[in-house]
Amino acid sequence: MSNQNEPMTAGPAEEITLAARRRRGAFSAAMHEVLKAPPTAKFGLIMIFAYLFVAVFAPLLAPYGEAEVVGRQYAPWSDEFVLGTDQIGRDMLSRLIFAARNSVSIAFLTTLIAFLLGSMLGLLSAVVGGWIDQGLGRLVDVLMAIPSLIFTLVLLTIFGTDLITLILVIALFDATRVYRLSRAVAVNVVVMDFVEAARLQGEKLPWIMAREVLPNILPPLAAEFGLRFTFVFLTIAALSFLGLGIQPPTADWGSMVRENATLINYGDITPLLPAAAIALLTVSVNFVVDWFLHKTSGLRDV
């Protein structure tokens, strides 16, 4: 902020680069950014695309069906079953591949709902203020005060463990964090003169929220989306491990770890593979988020 008047007076040179960048289009501008990204971010991006590829083309890549019993229990690694079979004789590799589809898509959907809910309420709080802000704020305080994993377990026990309930419950808890963040960044934007100018023009609440404030808080929200996605992913994996998450026979990395955990006792690392899949995706997403945060916060490498 201190050298605020520098960029605006940078003059013709900057105008040319800006105009040039617009001409190149959004896609090539993004490609340009990616090529300049640090190696960790590139690695993260490649891994995320690999997961997406596997998730989309799961039926083509997997040698066997998702819930198909194809061999004896706990078969060792072999040419027929590359990673062996699980406790009821399903192919481990196929289930790992299908689980990418289930776990990732459920986590994505949950994060999306959490963001829609959280950011909308956060914006509302920041723009309207007053009692709505207070009311929503205290409600979120109450929800955040309860250890979320335990509360999730309670809610899932009460409402049952079908997929919809699972998604909604986790989304609700994550929305509290998103609410906090979006409210915090939005209040800084709401005090700007252009929001007051919009109010003086008589603009209505939805316009102010969606057109004046939201575009200005998107970068931190987008970065948070990546982090939230990882946490949701881990929560679902944890719940599945506890038996309350994604229900059998649907393949899921969390439950795969639990079901095959006994193999560890015999020195077989197969049950660690789904755990590794989770870990790798988490790390990759975080690499990308770090890079994105660094870009949008405007820090310069010295």
Partner: protein
């Protein structure tokens, strides 16, 4: 060139202290480096004050920092030599340079409030450098700082250092910062717009203190500012900068009386903009007996009565905290008044914004002080103007597009600007867009809240000319809030002087600006720097004789 000129000043006899030759500095934007300083020479002798002036972006601050051998993040010194007291700063390692800064070369920044750590006492921050480099013991450093406080006319010099930054006023803080810079008794001090953020009545105290200390302690100083009248008071010699190059350099008196370059002459001419007074016209806005307070607490406005004639400009003048901006909030409905009414076109306005019909919202528009926060950085210029046009005037499609083109033409911008984002515009262009946005909906009244105070003089003059032209063309009424008397002279028909939430005086411009004045108006008018190098000394001498001096020295 400089050798010849310095001898004309009485203090020019000192030896050469700073010698910068062929300085080139580049700044980074995205991946490319572009030049900020394009080969500049600067010399300074002991005991001499050099004024650097120019618009923002001229390279003044960059040059000032380079005098310390320092380049901001994203900048680099690519060529030239900087000799300080005979030693080449650029040749020595960074650790050596760092030892010089603060001890032998000091820097006073524009915003003292942003430069102090709010969690430490003032005196501890002042003696920090001296302690860090072991220049003096804690007790010695403390004592010499208190002496400096006294020299700078700070109230209660013994104890003021025990306060925290938020416990002193802006003008006092700026003087404390000067004391901090002088704590190690440096040979050279770089002042980077030290009074720009202050009111005129506060500015004069800070200027007087700085001038006195620099003169008495025989320091060399570089004084950076964009205000000609200020530099005329402070400097022995003036350098005019533009686009990273020296336009002209001469001793102060010669520069003021006989500027040679066209650019310098245009800078000098800015202050001569005048408007003929005309106070006819029916009343468009009448404020009657308005009191206002924030959050039920302190009352900010007391019994305000103002009448604004249609098609004219009423200037509301006062220092910060006088309630000028609060008045704007009452008129726009952001702050409903406790008592009194605001009448618009003969009818009382509903006090709160939410109760006002859309038609009324259209008729009162506002232009803000800072164009940056007033424009949404994520929306294109054309979208912003188009939204106002379609929301209030009901235009769409081709009509809307044509109107946006008209508006851009009206503010003298190319049609291609509709595709631009605010960050791709200069400060003056942004303010033009704000003006177009306000006028897009054909309002009766436009409230201008210090619209030129964030801009350079030349740009500000262009904006004022634009406002005047638009008033002539469209017959719009301005309520112009400002603390700058020069601006008032340029555009006002009537003047309202405010102080501490009350109207001190109001009437036609000629009447307010000619004596006799109430005491506050007198103080305000006499505090506005003039282009006369003796102005400051004269005013201070005048005040020392008269009664106004007492209020001027102990601060606000």
């Amino acid at each position: 060139m400089s050798d010849a000129t310095t001898q004309q000043t009485d203090k020019g006899a000192g030896s050469m202290l700073l010698e910068m030759r062929g300085i080139k500095i580049e700044g980074q934007s995205e991946d490319t480096w572009f030049p900020i300083i394009k080969g500049m020479d600067l010399t300074l002798r002991r005991g001499e004050v050099l004024g650097l002036i120019g618009e923002s972006g001229a390279g003044k601050s960059t040059m000032g920092l380079a005098a310390m051998g320092f380049a901001r993040d994203g900048c680099r010194i690519t060529a030239g030599t900087i000799k300080f007291d005979g030693v080449d700063l650029l040749a020595m390692p960074e650790s050596e340079r760092r030892k010089l800064r603060g001890v032998r070369i000091a820097y006073v920044a524009q915003s003292a409030a942003a430069s102090f750590n709010p969690a430490h006492r003032l005196i501890d921050q002042c003696i920090e450098t001296a302690m860090f480099y072991g220049v003096a013991s804690a007790a010695e450093a403390r004592q010499s700082t208190i002496d400096l406080f006294r020299r700078l006319h700070l109230p209660d010099p013994e104890n003021i250092g025990e306060r925290y930054p938020h416990q002193v006023s802006g003008g006092q803080l700026q003087r404390v910062m000067t004391a901090m810079a002088m704590a190690c008794s440096p040979d050279l001090i770089v002042f980077d717009e030290p009074t720009t953020a202050l009111d005129v009545t506060t500015q004069i105290e800070v200027l007087a203190s700085i001038k006195e200390v620099v003169r008495e302690l025989h320091k060399a100083a570089i004084y950076i500012t964009h205000d000609l009248a200020v530099v005329a008071q402070m400097a022995d010699r003036i350098m005019v900068l533009r686009y990273g190059e020296v336009v002209e350099e001469a001793p102060t008196r010669q520069m003021l009386s006989d500027p040679r370059q066209p650019y310098t002459k245009s800078l000098w001419a800015v202050r001569s903009l005048r408007k003929d007074e005309d106070t006819s016209g029916d009343t468009v806005l009448a404020i009657r007996n308005v009191d206002a307070a924030y959050g039920g607490g302190v009352r900010v406005l007391h019994d305000i009565n103002i009448k604004v004639p249609r098609g004219r400009t009423v200037a509301v003048v006062g220092e910060s905290g006088s309630g000028k901006s609060t008045l704007a909030r009452v008129i726009t409905g952001l702050l409903p008044p406790e008592n009194g009414t605001v009448e618009f076109n003969g009818q009382a306005l509903p006090p709160a914004l939410a109760q006002r019909p859309k038609e009324l919202l259209r008729k009162v528009q506002m232009i803000y002080q800072m164009p940056d926060p007033a424009l949404n950085p994520k929306r294109r210029i054309g979208d912003m103007l188009g939204r106002s046009v379609s929301y209030h005037m009901g235009l769409s499609g081709k009509d809307r597009s044509r109107r946006v083109s008209e508006l851009l033409e009206m503010i003298e911008l190319d049609d291609s600007y509709r595709e631009r984002l605010p960050m791709e515009l200069s400060g003056g262009q942004k303010q033009r867009v704000c003006i177009a946005r306000a006028l897009a909906v054909e309002p009766d009244l436009v409230i201008c809240d210090e619209v030129t105070s964030a801009l350079d003089q030349i740009v500000a003059e262009e904006i004022l000319k634009l406002l005047l032209r638009l008033q002539k063309d469209l017959g719009v009424t301005y309520l112009y809030i400002t603390h700058d008397i020069a601006t008032v002279k340029a555009i006002a028909d009537e003047i309202v002087v405010m102080h501490q939430g009350k109207v001190v005086e109001s009437g036609p411009k000629s009447q307010i600006l000619s004596p006799p004045h109430p005491p506050y108006t007198e103080l305000l008018l006499s505090s506005v720097p003039e282009m006369d190098p003796d102005w400051l000394d004269n005013v201070l001498a005048e005040r020392a004789r008269g009664g106004a001096g007492a209020t001027a020295v102990d601060g606000s």
